[in-house]
């Protein structure tokens, strides 16, 4: 197996794909938004429960490839308990990671599990898979009501 492939499908990603966290509807969600990648057929719904500017819970459901599903799962675990501004910051960092703009070594302590998505940068077609749930979460927090699509 070549190293780029191993980087892409790291154990954390395979694990979150097999056993996604926070999977399923979230009762009492304050923000719900669909995200789609029409060319792949990836489709997720993101549920967020925000109180006093804090994301107290985050769930997702839907289907797609291992990268998109693991990313959605990791996203829910990452933003839970965070303030909206912190989630915005994570979204920005995540985007830099998957597009290869972030120095993962340097920021590893602050990004934690997100670093597992660094391998995506070597596979430009998969960036959309990795970003879908994050874009949807971001749009949901900022009042978008139309479903998010990665085809812009």
């Amino acid at each position: 197996m070549n190293p780029e492939f191993k980087e892409l499908y790291q154990d954390i990603i395979l694990d979150h794909n097999r056993s996604p966290r926070n999977y399923g509807k979230l009762e009492g969600a304050t923000h719900v938004l669909d995200g789609r990648n029409p060319l792949c057929g990836d489709h997720y719904t993101i549920y967020l429960k925000v109180e006093n500017g804090i994301i107290i819970d985050a769930h997702f459901e839907g289907s797609g490839c291992a990268i998109s599903k693991a990313s959605a799962s990791v996203m829910t675990t990452s933003v839970k308990g965070k303030r909206i501004e912190e989630a915005d910051q994570l979204f920005k960092v995540f985007h830099e990671i998957v597009t290869g703009e972030a120095d993962i070594e340097e920021t590893f302590d602050s990004v934690g599990k997100l670093a597992a998505f660094g391998g995506v940068a070597d596979f430009p077609v998969r960036v959309k898979c990795a970003s879908l749930a994050w874009h949807t979460m971001h749009n949901a927090l900022h009042g978008e009501t139309n479903s998010t699509t990665t085809e812009e």
Binding site: N2, L14, R18, C40, G41, H43, G64
Partner: protein, 413 residues
């Protein structure tokens, strides 16, 4: 056990004709199983294109110089080869297009705009490629016509009971794929055409997947229109063919306006050139046509019957091995089928599967295969598809199936 074909086809010799096959991808020998998307080109085709540009390049028709004459002969003799390849009555029934898509758009624009009006119905099937849906949607929207779809069965075959019911007084055209790019189904075209012709309804065949793999005789089939692409049959991209019965072509309006398609031009009007030139405005893809002619020569030197039989054996072999894998779901079990196999294995998403196979040197396709109506009906987002051509081997299929197993255990559900 080493499997070898019983068909008379020397695949090792054939493989030496295709230079691109002899390379490593991600440190593994390339196994190219994306032939329903596009096929590789033999050296003879590459040489024909290169020889044209090195020796003969000029614009076709009307040139009073040697190169123009050679280019015209090359271009027009390619048309003759195409006519003979599909059994057309005359090369005047052969129109060069960019591909299947443009050929179908040509019929929708030139024939459809003239003969389809409000309330008319066009019958398609739910297993069509988008290229045999969207041109008709555009036409139907413009004219106020209606599209009707023949459903497919669980096997991936056409539901003839429903087809019978759809055929009506307002039906003006049946446009259908000869061979499905998703299911591999070879549709019973003779039966479809006789049902339509009994009611004087013309039939268009999307031959993108059939022309490369099966012997075709348009007069025997008696289809009114037949569209196919060069690049799926060892020829370059950007060249394709519309065959239509002469009487249909004579009756159709031009497709595009420009040079070549006219006879005489005045300030306010023009008269049209004779067929097929009436439908070929502008400088055509001369090198592409010559490349297509060379591809036809190549395929005929192997023999279309041989190719069809060999691919049949490959497909049966692959299906048997694939179906033996636990968790394997193959879409399409028509009694008559070609070498395009769509599948899902366990819970492995097609994009992950394709990525895994790619790093083992195997090229397959993952996605909706431009057939979203099929995906919607099967309620799946995507499939992985392996598709074969005359240069694929039984060893490659063994390797492919081995890698499918590895992919499943890697993603481990």
């Amino acid at each position: 056990m080493v499997h070898s074909a019983t068909t008379h086809l020397d695949v090792e010799a054939i493989r030496t004709d295709f230079p691109i096959l002899h390379q490593k991808v991600n440190d593994h020998p390339l196994v190219y199983l994306d032939n329903a998307a596009t096929t590789q080109k033999p050296q003879a085709v590459i040489d024909a294109i290169s020889a044209y540009y090195q020796n003969d390049n000029a614009n076709v028709h009307r040139a009073i110089h040697k190169l123009g004459e050679r280019a015209t002969i090359g271009y027009e003799s390619a048309r003759k080869k195409v006519a003979q390849f599909i059994g057309a009555a005359s090369e005047r029934e052969i129109i060069f297009t960019r591909g299947t898509t443009e050929a179908i758009n040509l019929v929708a624009a030139s024939w459809g705009r003239k003969f389809i009006s409000a309330g008319d119905e066009i019958i398609l099937s739910e297993m069509e490629h988008h290229s045999n849906i969207i041109p008709w949607q555009l036409l139907a929207q413009e004219k106020g016509a209606t599209l009707k779809y023949i459903p497919f069965t669980e096997e991936g075959t056409l539901d003839f009971t429903q087809f019978e019911l759809l055929l009506g007084k307002r039906t003006k055209l049946v446009a259908i794929t000869h061979m499905s790019n998703v299911f591999g189904t070879i549709n019973p075209i003779k039966r479809i055409i006789s049902m339509a012709h009994d009611r004087s309804i013309p039939v268009l065949l999307d031959g993108a997947q059939s022309a490369p793999h099966l012997p075709i005789d348009v007069q025997h089939l008696d289809c009114d229109f037949y569209a196919f692409s060069g690049h799926k049959m060892a020829a370059p991209t950007g060249i394709g063919v519309l065959y239509a019965k002469r009487a249909r072509l004579e009756n159709m309006n031009p497709y595009q306006g420009g040079g070549e398609m006219i006879n005489s031009v005045w300030h306010d009007r023009a008269t049209w050139n004779e067929i097929p030139h009436k439908f070929e405005a502008g400088t055509p893809n001369i090198a592409g046509a010559i490349g297509l002619g060379a591809a036809i020569d190549y395929l005929q030197s192997v023999g279309m019957e041989n190719i069809a039989l060999y691919e049949q054996e490959l497909t049966t072999y692959a299906l048997d091995k694939m179906m033996a894998l636990p968790g394997m779901k193959v879409y399409g079990h028509a009694p008559e089928r070609g070498g395009a196999i769509s599948f899902n294995l366990g819970n492995v998403h097609p994009h992950d599967m394709a990525q895994f196979l790619d790093q083992q040197g195997i090229a397959v396709r993952a996605g909706h295969h431009c057939a979203q109506l099929i995906m919607q009906k099967l309620d799946i987002a995507a499939t992985t598809r392996a598709s074969f051509y005359l240069y694929n081997t039984f060893d490659e299929i063994d390797y492919f199936v081995e890698q499918l197993k590895k992919a499943q255990s890697f993603f481990d559900f």
